[in-house]
Protein backbone atom coordinates (compact mmCIF):
# COMPACT_ATOMS: atom_id res chain seq x y z
CA UNK A 1 0.00 0.00 0.00
CA UNK A 2 2.96 2.30 0.55
CA UNK A 3 3.71 2.18 -3.20
CA UNK A 4 0.07 2.95 -4.00
CA UNK A 5 0.35 5.96 -1.72
CA UNK A 6 3.40 7.03 -3.70
CA UNK A 7 1.47 6.82 -6.96
CA UNK A 8 2.89 3.58 -8.38
CA UNK A 9 0.44 2.24 -11.00
CA UNK A 10 1.88 -1.29 -10.79
CA UNK A 11 1.26 -1.43 -7.06
CA UNK A 12 -2.27 -0.21 -7.65
CA UNK A 13 -2.74 -2.90 -10.30
CA UNK A 14 -1.80 -5.58 -7.75
CA UNK A 15 -4.46 -4.23 -5.38
CA UNK A 16 -6.98 -4.21 -8.22
CA UNK A 17 -6.16 -7.78 -9.28
CA UNK A 18 -6.45 -9.06 -5.72
CA UNK A 19 -9.71 -7.40 -4.82
CA UNK A 20 -11.61 -6.58 -8.01
CA UNK A 21 -13.62 -9.82 -8.11
CA UNK A 22 -14.85 -9.35 -4.54
CA UNK A 23 -15.53 -5.68 -5.28
CA UNK A 24 -17.40 -6.39 -8.50
CA UNK A 25 -19.36 -9.22 -6.89
CA UNK A 26 -20.51 -6.96 -4.06
CA UNK A 27 -21.40 -4.13 -6.44
CA UNK A 28 -23.26 -6.51 -8.75
CA UNK A 29 -25.11 -8.11 -5.84
CA UNK A 30 -26.18 -4.68 -4.63
CA UNK A 31 -27.11 -2.99 -7.89
CA UNK A 32 -28.30 -6.05 -9.79
CA UNK A 33 -27.10 -4.50 -13.02
CA UNK A 34 -23.82 -5.07 -14.77
CA UNK A 35 -23.37 -1.49 -16.00
CA UNK A 36 -24.11 0.00 -12.59
CA UNK A 37 -21.72 -2.46 -10.93
CA UNK A 38 -18.94 -1.48 -13.34
CA UNK A 39 -19.55 2.20 -12.62
CA UNK A 40 -19.43 1.60 -8.87
CA UNK A 41 -16.21 -0.41 -9.05
CA UNK A 42 -14.58 2.15 -11.34
CA UNK A 43 -15.56 5.02 -9.02
CA UNK A 44 -14.37 3.11 -5.97
CA UNK A 45 -10.97 2.08 -7.33
CA UNK A 46 -10.23 5.50 -8.81
CA UNK A 47 -11.17 6.97 -5.45
CA UNK A 48 -8.68 4.57 -3.84
CA UNK A 49 -6.01 5.58 -6.31
CA UNK A 50 -6.57 9.26 -5.70
CA UNK A 51 -6.68 9.01 -1.91
CA UNK A 52 -4.57 5.95 -1.11
CA UNK A 53 -3.03 7.71 1.85
CA UNK A 54 -6.24 7.25 3.82
CA UNK A 55 -5.80 3.51 4.30
CA UNK A 56 -5.21 2.74 7.96
CA UNK A 57 -3.95 -0.80 8.53
CA UNK A 58 -4.96 -0.74 12.18
CA UNK A 59 -8.60 -0.62 11.13
CA UNK A 60 -8.59 -3.82 9.10
CA UNK A 61 -7.33 -5.49 5.94
CA UNK A 62 -6.99 -3.84 2.55
CA UNK A 63 -9.88 -5.99 1.37
CA UNK A 64 -12.15 -4.72 4.14
CA UNK A 65 -11.14 -1.17 3.26
CA UNK A 66 -11.75 -1.68 -0.46
CA UNK A 67 -15.11 -3.37 0.06
CA UNK A 68 -16.17 -0.67 2.51
CA UNK A 69 -15.63 1.94 -0.18
CA UNK A 70 -17.46 -0.15 -2.76
CA UNK A 71 -20.36 -0.60 -0.36
CA UNK A 72 -20.66 3.13 0.24
CA UNK A 73 -20.38 3.90 -3.46
CA UNK A 74 -23.02 1.31 -4.30
CA UNK A 75 -25.42 2.80 -1.76
CA UNK A 76 -24.77 6.23 -3.25
CA UNK A 77 -25.47 4.86 -6.72
CA UNK A 78 -28.65 3.15 -5.59
CA UNK A 79 -29.99 6.28 -3.96
CA UNK A 80 -28.80 8.54 -6.79
CA UNK A 81 -30.21 6.61 -9.70
CA UNK A 82 -33.17 4.92 -8.09
CA UNK A 83 -31.81 1.60 -9.26
CA UNK A 84 -33.79 0.21 -6.33
CA UNK A 85 -37.02 0.26 -8.25
CA UNK A 86 -35.63 -1.28 -11.40
CA UNK A 87 -33.82 -3.94 -9.43
CA UNK A 88 -36.87 -4.89 -7.43
CA UNK A 89 -38.82 -5.20 -10.63
CA UNK A 90 -36.23 -7.47 -12.23
CA UNK A 91 -35.11 -9.50 -9.22
CA UNK A 92 -36.68 -12.67 -10.55
CA UNK A 93 -34.98 -12.30 -13.90
CA UNK A 94 -31.41 -11.99 -12.69
CA UNK A 95 -29.45 -15.06 -13.56
CA UNK A 96 -26.53 -16.07 -11.42
CA UNK A 97 -23.05 -15.89 -12.77
CA UNK A 98 -20.21 -17.65 -11.11
CA UNK A 99 -16.52 -17.26 -10.74
CA UNK A 100 -14.59 -19.77 -12.80
CA UNK A 101 -12.75 -22.63 -11.14
CA UNK A 102 -10.16 -21.49 -8.64
CA UNK A 103 -6.61 -21.28 -9.84
CA UNK A 104 -4.83 -20.78 -6.53
CA UNK A 105 -5.08 -22.03 -2.99
CA UNK A 106 -5.94 -18.51 -1.86
CA UNK A 107 -8.92 -18.42 -4.21
CA UNK A 108 -10.03 -21.84 -3.01
CA UNK A 109 -9.80 -20.66 0.59
CA UNK A 110 -11.81 -17.54 -0.21
CA UNK A 111 -14.45 -19.63 -1.91
CA UNK A 112 -14.65 -21.84 1.18
CA UNK A 113 -15.01 -18.79 3.42
CA UNK A 114 -17.68 -17.37 1.13
CA UNK A 115 -19.59 -20.63 1.35
CA UNK A 116 -19.43 -20.48 5.15
CA UNK A 117 -20.82 -16.94 5.19
CA UNK A 118 -23.62 -17.86 2.77
CA UNK A 119 -24.49 -20.93 4.82
CA UNK A 120 -24.54 -18.94 8.06
CA UNK A 121 -26.74 -16.27 6.49
CA UNK A 122 -29.11 -18.89 5.11
CA UNK A 123 -29.34 -20.54 8.52
CA UNK A 124 -30.77 -17.40 10.13
CA UNK A 125 -34.53 -17.12 10.65
CA UNK A 126 -36.05 -15.62 7.49
CA UNK A 127 -37.10 -12.39 9.17
CA UNK A 128 -33.56 -11.72 10.37
CA UNK A 129 -31.74 -12.64 7.16
CA UNK A 130 -34.26 -10.63 5.13
CA UNK A 131 -33.69 -7.52 7.26
CA UNK A 132 -29.90 -7.89 7.05
CA UNK A 133 -29.90 -8.48 3.28
CA UNK A 134 -32.17 -5.51 2.62
CA UNK A 135 -29.98 -3.31 4.81
CA UNK A 136 -26.55 -4.40 3.63
CA UNK A 137 -27.03 -5.58 0.05
CA UNK A 138 -30.14 -3.58 -0.67
CA UNK A 139 -28.78 -0.31 0.67
CA UNK A 140 -32.13 0.41 2.31
CA UNK A 141 -32.33 2.36 5.55
CA UNK A 142 -33.96 0.81 8.60
CA UNK A 143 -37.01 3.04 8.14
CA UNK A 144 -37.37 2.02 4.47
CA UNK A 145 -37.15 -1.64 5.50
CA UNK A 146 -39.79 -1.09 8.17
CA UNK A 147 -42.11 0.40 5.55
CA UNK A 148 -41.44 -2.40 3.06
CA UNK A 149 -41.99 -5.18 5.58
CA UNK A 150 -44.82 -3.32 7.29
CA UNK A 151 -43.40 -3.58 10.77
CA UNK A 152 -42.27 -1.11 13.45
CA UNK A 153 -38.79 0.40 13.08
CA UNK A 154 -37.81 -0.99 16.47
CA UNK A 155 -38.62 -4.50 15.30
CA UNK A 156 -36.40 -4.08 12.23
CA UNK A 157 -33.51 -2.81 14.36
CA UNK A 158 -33.91 -5.70 16.77
CA UNK A 159 -33.98 -8.30 14.01
CA UNK A 160 -30.86 -6.89 12.43
CA UNK A 161 -29.05 -6.95 15.73
CA UNK A 162 -30.16 -10.46 16.63
CA UNK A 163 -29.21 -11.71 13.18
CA UNK A 164 -25.75 -10.16 13.32
CA UNK A 165 -25.14 -11.60 16.77
CA UNK A 166 -26.12 -15.07 15.57
CA UNK A 167 -23.85 -14.70 12.56
CA UNK A 168 -21.01 -13.75 14.82
CA UNK A 169 -21.56 -16.90 16.82
CA UNK A 170 -21.73 -19.09 13.73
CA UNK A 171 -18.80 -17.59 11.87
CA UNK A 172 -16.51 -17.65 14.88
CA UNK A 173 -12.91 -17.17 13.83
CA UNK A 174 -13.84 -16.26 10.29
CA UNK A 175 -14.80 -12.75 11.28
CA UNK A 176 -11.77 -10.58 11.10
CA UNK A 177 -10.17 -9.26 14.25
CA UNK A 178 -8.73 -5.79 13.73
CA UNK A 179 -4.98 -5.56 14.24
Amino acid sequence: MQLVREGDPRAFEVVYDRHSTAAFSLAYRMTGRRGAAEDVVQEAFLSLWRSGARYDRTRGSVRTWVLGIVHHRAIDALRRSMVHDRRRASDEGIEERFEAAERTDAEAARRQEAEEVRTALAALPDDQSRAIELAYFGGFSHSEIAAMLEMPIGTVKGRIRLGLEKLRGQLGELVEVPA
Binding site: G7, D8, P9, Y16, S20, A22, A23, F24, S25, L26, R29, R34, A37, E38, V41, Q42, L46, R50, S51, G52, A53, T64, L67, G68, H71, H72, G93, E95, E96, R97, F98, E99, A100, E102, E113, A114, V117, R118, L121, I132, A135, Y136, F137, F140, S141, H142, E144, I145, V156, K157, I160, R161, L164, E165, L167, R168, L171, V175, E176, V177
Partner: protein
Protein backbone atom coordinates in the same frame (compact mmCIF):
# COMPACT_ATOMS: atom_id res chain seq x y z
CA UNK B 1 -29.54 -1.42 32.37
CA UNK B 2 -28.92 -1.68 28.64
CA UNK B 3 -28.18 1.45 26.65
CA UNK B 4 -31.36 2.75 24.94
CA UNK B 5 -29.38 3.03 21.68
CA UNK B 6 -28.40 -0.64 21.81
CA UNK B 7 -30.53 -1.63 18.81
CA UNK B 8 -29.10 1.15 16.67
CA UNK B 9 -25.78 -0.71 16.53
CA UNK B 10 -26.96 -3.29 13.97
CA UNK B 11 -28.27 -0.82 11.36
CA UNK B 12 -25.24 1.42 12.05
CA UNK B 13 -22.63 -1.21 11.14
CA UNK B 14 -24.62 -2.07 8.01
CA UNK B 15 -24.77 1.58 6.94
CA UNK B 16 -28.57 1.49 7.24
CA UNK B 17 -29.13 4.04 10.00
CA UNK B 18 -30.06 6.89 7.72
CA UNK B 19 -30.95 10.53 8.22
CA UNK B 20 -31.04 12.15 11.64
CA UNK B 21 -30.77 8.79 13.37
CA UNK B 22 -27.30 8.36 11.93
CA UNK B 23 -26.14 11.76 13.17
CA UNK B 24 -27.68 11.25 16.61
CA UNK B 25 -26.10 7.81 17.00
CA UNK B 26 -22.70 9.08 15.86
CA UNK B 27 -22.82 11.71 18.61
CA UNK B 28 -24.00 9.12 21.14
CA UNK B 29 -21.27 6.69 20.13
CA UNK B 30 -18.56 9.16 21.04
CA UNK B 31 -19.57 8.92 24.70
CA UNK B 32 -20.93 5.37 25.11
CA UNK B 33 -18.41 2.63 25.85
CA UNK B 34 -21.10 -0.08 25.68
CA UNK B 35 -22.17 0.83 22.14
CA UNK B 36 -18.56 1.35 21.05
CA UNK B 37 -17.76 -2.21 22.13
CA UNK B 38 -20.90 -3.52 20.40
CA UNK B 39 -20.00 -1.72 17.18
CA UNK B 40 -16.51 -3.24 17.24
CA UNK B 41 -17.98 -6.75 17.59
CA UNK B 42 -20.75 -6.46 15.00
CA UNK B 43 -18.59 -4.53 12.53
CA UNK B 44 -16.48 -7.67 12.17
CA UNK B 45 -19.59 -9.56 11.08
CA UNK B 46 -20.60 -6.78 8.68
CA UNK B 47 -17.13 -6.90 7.15
CA UNK B 48 -17.63 -10.59 6.32
CA UNK B 49 -21.00 -10.07 4.60
CA UNK B 50 -19.59 -9.16 1.14
CA UNK B 51 -18.35 -12.74 0.94
CA UNK B 52 -21.97 -13.91 0.80
CA UNK B 53 -22.34 -12.34 -2.65
CA UNK B 54 -22.00 -14.81 -5.55
CA UNK B 55 -18.50 -14.25 -6.90
CA UNK B 56 -18.57 -12.68 -10.34
CA UNK B 57 -15.46 -11.95 -12.36
CA UNK B 58 -15.33 -8.34 -13.58
CA UNK B 59 -14.88 -7.83 -17.33
CA UNK B 60 -11.31 -7.22 -18.55
CA UNK B 61 -12.51 -4.01 -20.19
CA UNK B 62 -13.23 -2.56 -16.75
CA UNK B 63 -9.64 -3.06 -15.67
CA UNK B 64 -8.45 -1.53 -18.94
CA UNK B 65 -10.57 1.56 -18.31
CA UNK B 66 -9.42 1.97 -14.71
CA UNK B 67 -5.75 1.33 -15.46
CA UNK B 68 -5.95 3.71 -18.42
CA UNK B 69 -7.02 6.52 -16.11
CA UNK B 70 -4.46 5.53 -13.46
CA UNK B 71 -1.57 5.39 -15.93
CA UNK B 72 -2.53 8.76 -17.39
CA UNK B 73 -2.72 10.41 -14.00
CA UNK B 74 0.54 8.79 -12.87
CA UNK B 75 2.27 10.09 -16.02
CA UNK B 76 1.02 13.59 -15.39
CA UNK B 77 2.00 13.33 -11.75
CA UNK B 78 5.54 12.41 -12.78
CA UNK B 79 5.59 15.20 -15.37
CA UNK B 80 4.46 17.73 -12.78
CA UNK B 81 7.44 16.79 -10.59
CA UNK B 82 7.84 16.03 -6.90
CA UNK B 83 6.53 19.43 -5.85
CA UNK B 84 3.13 18.43 -7.21
CA UNK B 85 2.72 15.73 -4.60
CA UNK B 86 4.04 17.67 -1.64
CA UNK B 87 1.24 18.42 0.81
CA UNK B 88 1.16 22.09 1.66
CA UNK B 89 -0.18 23.27 5.01
CA UNK B 90 -3.19 24.90 3.39
CA UNK B 91 -3.94 21.72 1.48
CA UNK B 92 -3.85 19.42 4.48
CA UNK B 93 -6.59 16.83 4.32
CA UNK B 94 -6.97 16.95 0.56
CA UNK B 95 -6.37 13.87 -1.60
CA UNK B 96 -3.28 13.43 -3.72
CA UNK B 97 -5.20 14.24 -6.90
CA UNK B 98 -6.37 17.57 -5.56
CA UNK B 99 -2.86 18.45 -4.39
CA UNK B 100 -1.53 17.44 -7.76
CA UNK B 101 -3.77 19.96 -9.48
CA UNK B 102 -2.57 22.75 -7.19
CA UNK B 103 0.58 23.60 -9.23
CA UNK B 104 -1.65 24.94 -11.98
CA UNK B 105 -2.16 28.03 -9.89
CA UNK B 106 1.54 28.52 -9.27
CA UNK B 107 2.81 28.11 -12.83
CA UNK B 108 3.38 30.95 -15.22
CA UNK B 109 0.68 31.43 -17.86
CA UNK B 110 2.22 29.46 -20.72
CA UNK B 111 3.19 26.30 -18.79
CA UNK B 112 -0.12 26.45 -16.96
CA UNK B 113 -1.96 26.55 -20.25
CA UNK B 114 0.18 23.73 -21.60
CA UNK B 115 -0.41 21.56 -18.54
CA UNK B 116 -4.10 22.38 -18.65
CA UNK B 117 -4.13 21.28 -22.29
CA UNK B 118 -2.51 17.99 -21.35
CA UNK B 119 -5.05 17.51 -18.58
CA UNK B 120 -7.88 18.31 -20.96
CA UNK B 121 -6.47 15.86 -23.51
CA UNK B 122 -6.20 13.14 -20.89
CA UNK B 123 -9.71 13.93 -19.74
CA UNK B 124 -10.99 13.57 -23.28
CA UNK B 125 -9.01 10.36 -23.71
CA UNK B 126 -10.35 8.91 -20.47
CA UNK B 127 -13.83 9.98 -21.52
CA UNK B 128 -13.47 8.24 -24.86
CA UNK B 129 -12.13 5.11 -23.18
CA UNK B 130 -14.96 5.11 -20.67
CA UNK B 131 -17.71 5.59 -23.18
CA UNK B 132 -19.00 2.95 -25.51
CA UNK B 133 -20.39 3.18 -29.00
CA UNK B 134 -24.10 2.89 -29.61
CA UNK B 135 -23.83 0.69 -32.71
CA UNK B 136 -25.21 -2.66 -31.68
CA UNK B 137 -25.84 -5.51 -34.08
CA UNK B 138 -28.20 -8.33 -33.14
CA UNK B 139 -28.10 -11.90 -34.46
CA UNK B 140 -30.56 -14.71 -33.80
CA UNK B 141 -28.85 -17.95 -32.90
CA UNK B 142 -29.77 -21.56 -32.23
CA UNK B 143 -31.12 -22.83 -28.93
CA UNK B 144 -33.02 -25.85 -27.59
CA UNK B 145 -36.57 -26.34 -28.87
CA UNK B 146 -38.88 -23.79 -27.33
CA UNK B 147 -36.01 -21.46 -26.45
CA UNK B 148 -34.60 -18.45 -28.28
CA UNK B 149 -31.28 -16.68 -28.09
CA UNK B 150 -30.14 -13.35 -29.49
CA UNK B 151 -26.52 -12.20 -29.59
CA UNK B 152 -26.09 -8.44 -29.26
CA UNK B 153 -22.65 -7.15 -30.24
CA UNK B 154 -21.42 -3.65 -29.47
CA UNK B 155 -17.82 -3.16 -30.52
CA UNK B 156 -15.96 -6.11 -28.99
CA UNK B 157 -18.56 -6.68 -26.30
CA UNK B 158 -21.28 -9.28 -26.60
CA UNK B 159 -24.44 -10.10 -24.70
CA UNK B 160 -26.63 -13.17 -25.02
CA UNK B 161 -30.36 -12.81 -24.36
CA UNK B 162 -32.18 -16.07 -23.69
CA UNK B 163 -35.89 -16.75 -23.41
CA UNK B 164 -37.46 -20.10 -22.68
CA UNK B 165 -34.06 -21.62 -21.96
CA UNK B 166 -34.16 -24.77 -19.81
CA UNK B 167 -32.00 -24.81 -16.69
CA UNK B 168 -28.73 -26.72 -16.97
CA UNK B 169 -28.70 -30.21 -15.43
CA UNK B 170 -28.39 -30.32 -11.64
CA UNK B 171 -24.91 -29.39 -10.44
CA UNK B 172 -23.90 -27.94 -13.80
CA UNK B 173 -23.75 -24.46 -15.30
CA UNK B 174 -23.77 -23.05 -18.79
CA UNK B 175 -20.43 -21.86 -20.12
CA UNK B 176 -19.81 -19.54 -23.08
CA UNK B 177 -17.11 -20.43 -25.65
CA UNK B 178 -15.62 -18.28 -28.38
CA UNK B 179 -14.70 -19.82 -31.74
CA UNK B 180 -12.35 -18.36 -34.31
CA UNK B 181 -12.31 -20.16 -37.67
CA UNK B 182 -11.46 -23.82 -37.32
CA UNK B 183 -9.65 -23.42 -34.03
CA UNK B 184 -10.75 -25.17 -30.87
CA UNK B 185 -13.36 -23.26 -28.85
CA UNK B 186 -11.75 -20.82 -26.44
CA UNK B 187 -13.11 -21.04 -22.87
CA UNK B 188 -14.47 -17.93 -21.17
CA UNK B 189 -15.13 -17.07 -17.55
CA UNK B 190 -18.75 -16.44 -18.48
CA UNK B 191 -20.70 -19.07 -16.57
CA UNK B 192 -24.40 -18.74 -15.92
CA UNK B 193 -27.70 -20.36 -15.13
CA UNK B 194 -31.15 -19.16 -16.12
CA UNK B 195 -34.01 -17.85 -14.05
CA UNK B 196 -37.09 -19.95 -13.34
CA UNK B 197 -38.88 -18.42 -16.31
CA UNK B 198 -36.07 -19.39 -18.68
CA UNK B 199 -34.79 -15.87 -19.13
CA UNK B 200 -31.15 -14.82 -18.91
CA UNK B 201 -29.17 -11.81 -20.02
CA UNK B 202 -25.56 -12.83 -20.12
CA UNK B 203 -22.80 -10.32 -20.68
CA UNK B 204 -19.80 -12.08 -22.18
CA UNK B 205 -16.88 -11.09 -20.01
CA UNK B 206 -14.22 -11.58 -22.69
CA UNK B 207 -13.64 -9.51 -25.83
CA UNK B 208 -15.21 -10.86 -29.02
CA UNK B 209 -12.34 -9.56 -31.12
CA UNK B 210 -11.49 -12.18 -33.76
CA UNK B 211 -14.48 -14.31 -32.80
CA UNK B 212 -16.67 -15.89 -35.49
CA UNK B 213 -19.07 -17.87 -33.30
CA UNK B 214 -20.28 -17.88 -29.73
CA UNK B 215 -21.27 -21.26 -28.33
CA UNK B 216 -22.83 -22.41 -25.07
CA UNK B 217 -22.40 -25.82 -23.43
CA UNK B 218 -23.37 -27.15 -20.04
CA UNK B 219 -20.36 -27.88 -17.88
CA UNK B 220 -19.52 -28.85 -14.30
CA UNK B 221 -19.82 -26.01 -11.75
CA UNK B 222 -16.70 -23.88 -12.11
CA UNK B 223 -16.53 -24.42 -15.87
CA UNK B 224 -14.17 -26.41 -18.08
CA UNK B 225 -11.05 -25.69 -20.09
CA UNK B 226 -12.47 -27.56 -23.11
CA UNK B 227 -16.12 -28.35 -23.89
CA UNK B 228 -17.27 -31.64 -22.40
CA UNK B 229 -20.68 -31.62 -24.10
CA UNK B 230 -22.15 -30.59 -27.43
CA UNK B 231 -23.26 -26.96 -27.75
CA UNK B 232 -26.85 -26.37 -26.72
CA UNK B 233 -26.98 -22.81 -28.01
CA UNK B 234 -24.91 -20.38 -30.00
CA UNK B 235 -24.80 -17.67 -32.62
CA UNK B 236 -22.62 -16.58 -35.51
CA UNK B 237 -21.27 -13.05 -35.59
CA UNK B 238 -22.27 -11.08 -38.66
Amino acid sequence: MACPHRDDVGPWVLGALGGDDERVFAEHLAGCAECTADVAQLKMVADALPMAAPQVVPPPALKARIMGAVESEAALLRAAGPEADRPARAERGQGRFARWLAPLGRLRPVPAAALATVILAVGVLVGVLASGGDDTSTTRGFAPQGAQVALHVTGDHGRLDFTGMPAPPAGRVYQVWLVHGDRAPRPTHTLFTVAHDGRAQVDILESLKGTDKVLVTDEPAGGSRAPTTQPVAGATLT
